[in-house]
């Protein structure tokens, strides 16, 4: 049985939904990223407590009509990519919430 993987939003970033895109800025070098719709769903669901496979099953598969195996593969790659840029934290244990930077939404 494979280990659970947990993902959490990094506390060192700021994010905001603008139009239909999620803009994310990293405190490191004030680097700016735009998340695509799949990355946005993953980002929004990354609470540190829900395992990645549950996020894929409950959010990504239903929203994007994609097969679970394929979605899981893509989500793992995406999470690794986001982690590489310091946007997401990945752990095999639940990640306690300590985010001082709360996401805000505007119309």
């Amino acid at each position: 049985m494979s280990k659970k993987v947990y993902v959490a939003r990094s506390p060192r970033i700021a994010a905001r939904m603008l139009g239909e895109e999620m803009l994310v800025m990293s405190a490191q070098g004030s680097t700016l990223f735009t998340l695509n719709p799949t990355a946005t769903v993953l980002w929004q669901a990354a609470d540190g407590a829900t395992p990645l496979d549950e996020i894929v099953e409950s959010r990504i598969c239903s929203e994007f009509e994609v097969k679970p195996e394929e979605a899981m593969r893509d989500a793992e790659a995406l999470a690794a990519d986001l982690a590489k840029h310091g946007i997401l934290l990945i752990s095999e244990e639940p990640i306690p919430s300590k985010s001082p930077v709360q996401e805000q939404h505007r119309p």
Partner: protein, 271 residues
């Protein structure tokens, strides 16, 4: 034998940018003259200031003024360093010290950093853009070096008041944003006027074969704006504030892409 006492003369100038007064103290009268000349129009006769810096002049070194700035926060104090200066600032005590050579570039850099930190908390930011007032409204022209900030500033007709050709000073006020003049100059080397006006529009500059104004989608506007915001500190809370302010700005201020030829007729479209 009487005790020897050495009294060192101290000279001060209060530099007011964006309604924020910063007093600079020095023991060198020629450096004070240099500051008063450099920030002419932004030096106040008032004695009150929100923050105060003592300047300790150091011997010149072969420092590169274009080197990267390092800004960090330790135990309530901001440390600002570049090859040509080292400064410490304690916002709670409203005071700091700057070790620098006797040139205006280092002081410029310190003032910019301090103002970015002050503005971040006030819902404002410094923007790599020219800005100017026409008909009581401020217009911003943002872009990287070579985008045309100096060109469009130089083409401004006589009824336009130039606030800066390089770095704009913006702060939220009521439901909108206000642009203030700055002494931070670009290639035009002309100080902005020390005045302010509500911001009517932000133009993202592109040089092209014709003069054209096009609306910009909100995400592109935010990207274009954030790409030109000056911010030096890698402090998550302040970066968050600046980011949220920029996102708020693009919801309140119309943002356009301005393609223009180096021709004064472009100003017919800026009203």
């Amino acid at each position: 034998m009487p005790e020897l006492a050495l009294q060192v003369e101290r000279y001060s100038a209060v530099i007011v940018i964006g309604d924020v007064a910063i007093r600079v103290n020095t023991r060198d009268s020629s450096f004070l003259d240099l500051l008063q000349q450099r920030y002419s129009g932004f030096v106040s006769a008032e004695s009150g200031a929100e923050f105060e810096f003592d300047v300790e002049l150091v011997e010149p070194t072969f420092a590169d003024p274009d080197a990267e700035v390092n800004v960090s926060h330790h135990s309530g104090r901001w440390l600002m360093e570049r090859a040509d200066f080292r400064a410490e600032w304690n916002p709670a005590e409203r005071s700091g010290v700057i070790h620098q050579k006797a040139n205006p570039y280092s002081m410029d850099a310190v003032l910019r950093i301090v103002h970015t930190l002050v503005l971040a908390k006030q819902g404002g930011f410094l923007l790599h853009s020219a800005s100017a007032i026409r008909n009581g409204k401020a217009f911003l022209f943002a872009g990287v070096s070579g985008a045309g900030k100096t060109t469009i500033s130089g083409l401004a007709p006589g009824d336009v008041t130039l606030l800066t050709d390089e770095i704009s000073y913006l702060r939220k006020h009521d439901e909108g944003y206000v642009a203030y003049g700055t002494p931070f100059t670009g290639e035009l080397a002309r100080l902005g006027e020390n005045t302010s006006a509500p911001v009517a529009a932000l133009y993202l500059l592109t040089k092209g074969p014709e003069n054209r104004i096009e609306p910009v989608a909100v995400t592109d506007a935010a990207r274009g704006l954030l790409g030109n915001v000056l911010f030096f500190a890698e402090d998550p809370k302040l970066v968050h504030r600046v980011f949220q302010t920029a996102c708020d700005f693009v919801h309140r201020v119309p943002v356009y892409r301005l393609t223009f030829m180096p021709d004064a007729r472009v100003w017919e479209m800026i009203q």
